[in-house]
């Protein structure tokens, strides 16, 4: 009997389609919706435009524009690492500490043990990746919450950093004379008044590289899947452990590169750097539109997020705001930027 009525179902094969063409505004909204990084990009543009109108040439000069890039390069690179972790629904509070420890390893291995700076740099990079590996194993295999793991790692790595470095700074002049390659990322290209350091270029290249990997490789899809729903990802054939560990190791490695870039930026190797990097990088990631619950957002958004903070910081300082007022306004702008973002998403949904 079941066949008698069910067979009726087969008699029609018309393709159902009840979408209809929408207005231009809707198309824009749809574009924003499918390309989430457009939203922070627009906020960034609006911010630049706003400050340009108020401050004029002082702000719109190639010098000031590229200065913003230089000021965000460290946070930008670290925020890229942070993005990867946050995409897997994790969070990495240890990024700043790992960055500093790696830079200290690069410096101390050169100056304390007399290793060739190239070797010391490789040791520093390994050190960063190793820190990431520890976090990754704790998160992926022992299944501890990432917040706690990296909170612990933050304390551990930072303390190690202070104990190992003996709180000693290696001076810029010494580095310049004996191990200039440590300052590699501080080298610069000038075009007109615009100044691009290698660090800035590295940040931008890295952002595009990661955007490519996340979008066009299987690994990238797995990162999103793990962040979206780890159980579903596991059931549908993703090696969740391996994906998570690779993300943390890569994040540690990127932080180590940030440490190298840091030496280029401040000239010296200082164990007290980067203490706010964790919160600043998370800010950039979230302003960039990546969900803290994982699995949603684009890594280019992070770059824009970091730049938004940089534009506001410099813009407000140029407008003569006192640092405390700057903080107050940045706080409000963080909320406002995300509110705008949310609003656009809602309209376009």
């Amino acid at each position: 009997m079941s066949d008698s009525y069910e067979s009726a179902a087969n008699s029609n094969e018309t393709v159902a389609s009840f979408g209809q063409p929408r207005s231009f505004a809707h198309k824009v909204q749809h574009a924003l919706h499918v390309t989430p990084s457009l939203v922070p990009l627009m906020v960034l543009m609006a911010a630049i435009l706003g400050f340009a109108i108020v401050l004029g040439d002082k702000f719109l000069s190639p010098f000031a524009m590229t200065l913003i890039l230089q000021q965000v390069q460290i946070v930008g690179i670290v925020a890229l690492a942070q993005s990867l972790v946050i995409l897997t629904a994790g969070i990495d509070l240890s990024v700043g500490a790992v960055m500093v420890l790696s830079s200290v390893v690069m410096g101390q291995f050169t100056f304390r043990y007399g290793l060739p700076p190239e070797v010391a740099i490789i040791c520093g990079l390994i050190c960063g990746a190793l820190c990431g590996l520890i976090s990754g194993v704790l998160v992926a295999i022992i299944k501890l919450p990432p917040f706690i793991v990296t909170l612990g790692m933050w304390q551990v790595v930072l303390a190690t950093n202070f104990l190992y470095s003996k709180n000693e700074t290696i001076r810029s002049q010494d580095i310049e004379a004996n191990a200039a390659i440590l300052q590699f990322f501080g080298s610069r290209i000038e075009i007109g008044g615009a100044i691009f350091t290698y660090g800035v270029i590295f940040m931008i290249l890295l952002a595009f590289l990661l955007a490519y990997a996340l979008r066009y490789t299987a690994w990238g899809r797995h990162v999103y899947a793990v962040g979206d729903d780890p159980e579903a990802a596991e059931l549908s054939g993703v090696n969740v452990r391996r994906t998570l560990i690779s993300v943390y190791v890569l994040s540690g490695l990127i932080c180590a590169f940030a440490g190298w870039t840091l030496i280029g930026r401040i000239g010296s190797v200082s164990p007290t750097s980067g203490q706010l990097s964790n919160i600043e990088s998370i800010t950039a990631v979230v302003i960039g539109g990546i969900s803290l619950f994982g699995g949603r957002g684009s890594i280019l958004g992070t770059l824009f997020g970091a730049l938004i903070v940089g534009v506001f910081t410099l813009g407000l300082r140029l407008a003569g705001a006192d640092p405390q007022w700057t903080n107050l306004l940045i706080g409000m702008l963080i909320i406002a930027a995300v509110a705008v973002d949310q609003w656009i998403r809602k309209v376009s949904a």
């Binding site: 009997m1 079941s2 066949d3 009525y5 069910e6 067979s7 179902a9 087969n10 094969e13 393709v15 159902a16 389609s17 979408g19 490519y212 990997a213 066009y216 490789t217 299987a218 690994w219 899809r221 797995h222 999103y224 899947a225 979206d228 729903d229 159980e231 579903a232 990802a233 596991e234 059931l235 549908s236 054939g237 993703v238 090696n239 699995g295 949603r296």
Partner: protein
């Protein structure tokens, strides 16, 4: 004949609940084996244990005569055992194509694929579209749509299409038609027969007795965490099967 998939004395406890209680299981080549039982009888737990989604507390599993112990669904999958779980196992934010190829993506030929590990999106999309058309899931407007924007039935269809497309030794379907409409259910049933005709054995869990009796070669009746008997649908009435699975009848009472 040697079973393709065999399990003996499987046990799985959740706290004080024994979800699988010394259960045995056999699947023979080329057959459709239906597993029926009350809600909470432990059917899903059984197939999760067989397919690596949970690791049983005790018991052994053989695939084609080889002892296996899958520690992840991926391990089972690479051994050719493809499963559609009751809670669908999809990544909501990713597209239909991404979900279908999760864990076995196709890379571009040549340098792009080898060195840059670039995915071959066009090939994957083409394949996905074909499989969904076979299932008659034409109401899906865009193959790159995020799975979260699909209706419950559409998701079910995507999951079944995925299993049918990739399963090579065993395909396990845990209530594949539960959320499906009449038309789509029919498509799934046809697909099951199609897979069977390719010689791949299928495990089908379903509460829909007419479907079970229409398709199954043998019916494994599950009750209180264990297999109480296996019956031949041509030899038993639906009423008796239901009575067995609810405990109203004992296996010994089956009229010969």
């Amino acid at each position: 004949m040697e079973p393709v998939l065999k399990a003996r004395n499987l046990v799985k406890r959740y706290g004080r609940v024994t979800a699988i209680d010394n259960c045995d299981f056999d699947l023979y080549p080329g057959e459709i084996l239906a597993v029926i039982g009350d809600n909470g009888a432990g059917k899903s737990s059984l197939i999760r244990a067989i397919s690596g989604a949970t690791i049983p507390d005790a018991g052994e599993v053989w695939l084609e005569g080889q002892k296996v112990a899958f520690h992840s669904p991926n391990a089972a999958r690479s051994a050719g055992v493809e499963t559609v779980y009751q809670q669908l196992a999809m990544s909501p934010a990713l597209s239909i194509t991404d979900n279908m190829f999760m864990g076995r993506e196709i890379r571009r030929p040549g340098i792009l694929g080898k060195w840059f590990r670039m995915l071959d999106r066009p090939a994957m999309q083409k394949f996905a579209r074909e499989k969904l058309s076979e299932l008659g899931l034409m109401t899906i407007q865009n193959i790159n749509q995020a799975v979260e924007t699909l209706s419950g039935g559409q998701r079910q269809g995507v999951a079944v299409a995925r299993a049918a497309a990739f399963g090579s030794k065993v395909i396990i379907l845990d209530e594949p038609t539960a959320a499906l409409g009449v038309k789509e259910s029919r498509k799934v049933l046809e697909l099951i027969l199609d897979v069977k005709s390719r010689g791949i054995p299928i495990i089908l869990i379903s509460h829909n007795m007419p479907h079970v009796f229409e398709l199954a070669d043998r019916i494994h009746i599950h009750r209180l965490g264990k297999r109480i008997c296996v019956v031949d649908p041509s030899q038993i009435s639906m009423s008796d099967a239901v009575a067995l699975m609810t405990g109203a009848m004992k296996p010994d009472d089956i009229p010969a």
